[in-house]
């Protein structure tokens, strides 16, 4: 015990212990994985019974997107989890023990970010892959399937998991900024779902060029196989914009955690 001191690595370890030791957290992670796989397979089965009839419909049919439908709903599970990882500590008062143990504070935020991202990625990337494979094997009944090697497909699968990681981190940042579960969840889903609707009220040209820079728009660019150049960023552009959002949100959260009384 002579070498006792706070290190970033040990704080990450501690935050991982917290994530894995609350049953509700584990359940929401498993729910996310189950949604990704289950819903993807289910939607693929539905589309097999209603295959595209016209050549245009067939050309527009995106088998990858069909099999990854579940990832869009997993956004809720992962987003709420991200918020709760911070706000549950404020709601229960655990935060004071945590910050007394790590009085420099910022290692706690980074520790939570790493533990949450790693858990999300480790669970959601295989889930997305399984959803894709299951979905394609279902779609193959009508020869609607594609392969991982096709252009953009592998990136879209990995991108779906990456988008979930980004949503979790945004939730974490909103939770740390607002310190309230209700406010954090409201703000996160407001940004992800209400903002695009509000932007839709802008004149058409403006709406398109603004919407693609929103977190949801950047996520769409990252997760679709062939982003529409007119209304969406390139996949790399989407990744960069999304990363910027996460970085700014976490920086604000860090500033607030550092300077506000606990």
């Amino acid at each position: 015990m002579t070498t006792m001191r706070v290190r970033q690595r040990s704080v990450i370890h501690a935050e991982w212990t917290k994530v894995r030791s609350v049953p509700s957290t584990l359940w929401s992670l498993l729910a996310a994985a189950a949604l990704i796989v289950g819903l993807g397979g289910l939607y693929a089965a539905v589309r097999v019974t209603r295959p595209p009839k016209t050549p245009e419909a067939l050309a527009a049919f995106d088998p990858t997107a069909v099999s990854l439908t579940g990832a869009q709903l997993a956004v809720f599970a992962i987003g709420i989890l991200g918020v709760l990882v911070v706000t549950a500590e404020f709601a229960t008062g655990t935060i004071r023990s945590t910050l007394a143990a790590v009085p420099r504070r910022l290692p706690v935020l980074w520790g939570k970010a790493v533990a949450l991202s790693a858990t999300t990625l480790v669970l959601c990337l295989p889930a997305a892959l399984v959803a894709f494979l299951v979905g394609q094997s279902v779609l193959s009944a009508e020869h609607l399937n594609t392969t991982l090697g096709a252009p953009g497909v592998g990136r879209a699968v990995v991108g779906s998991a990456a988008y979930l990681v980004a949503v979790g981190l945004l939730g974490l940042a909103f939770g740390a900024l607002l310190r309230s579960t209700a406010a954090g969840i409201g703000a996160l889903f407001g940004v992800l779902f209400a903002l695009p609707i509000l932007v839709g009220f802008l004149p058409e040209h403006a709406a398109d060029s603004v919407a693609k820079f929103l977190p949801s728009g950047a996520g769409a660019a990252l997760t679709s196989v062939r982003p529409d150049a007119a209304t969406e960023l390139s996949p790399l552009g989407g990744l960069i914009v999304l990363t910027l959002y996460v970085a700014v949100a976490l920086a604000l959260a860090a500033w607030r955690l550092r300077h506000r009384d606990a």
Partner: protein
Amino acid sequence: MIEVRGLTKRYGGTLAVDDLSFTVRPGIVTGFLGPNGAGKSTTMRLILGLDAPTSGTALVNGRPYAQHTAPLREAGALLEARSFHPGRSAYHHLLALAQTCGIGRDRVEAVIEAVGLAGVARKRAGAFSLGMGQRLGIATALLGDPRTVILDEPVNGLDTEGIRWMRGLLADLAAQGRTVFVSSHLLSELAMTAQHVIVIGRGRLIADLPVADLIAGAGSTGVRVRSTEPDALATLLRQRGAQVTRASDGALEIRGWTTDQVGPVAAAAGLTLLELSARQASLEDAFLDLTRDAVDFRAPATSGGNR
């Protein structure tokens, strides 16, 4: 060792802690006493760097708490009851805190054993009673084997056996040479455990003295006397400079006088006495005297009322 110098904390327009200075020494139990809302918890949060002071400093073992490389080794704290996630077990709550600075699992098991939670440590802490939650808080405070222990109202929610255990624990920690700083709004509790008290009210320092001195001060006596002619007796005593007050049952109370002084005055005037007794002020009275002007929300005085 805790050194507080000119510590001030303002929340909006309210001064929660007002230019507080005191030192808490190792090797004894120091009580931190004050009415509810006096600023005790805020002061403790300031010492631990959880809140930033408006001005002034608080040092723990010679440095601001946040600047220690192994903070849990320097100070362990119980700040409020039930500050743990209800879905997590006591074991994992402690393990996560321990892991922040490389404290081993054996130490986690040891503190669980020490506070008597071994049987329930793996169960959801949400099912804990107030007393069990308090024990988990104590375990958290002891986790890093700290040189300074800071406990906010530690006996809250403990049963009689728990309170006795707590007294023993505090005495042991002090005997091991640690700095032990314990808040309470109950003087009687601290009188049994602490050797020194720091009394605050409305965020200000009211007293900083050995418990023995406080008790000696509280021993200042008064006289209670009943007479068939209380008004005449009161007049006589006042003429001799006594402070006389009337008790609800008609008896007279004379602060600072002895029965030896009151008796002859009555005899000289030929007044019949029905009762003449020495009155020992209690510790509680001493505390109330000290904090009288510093209580924010005092209930209207009622006979026998206590809060």
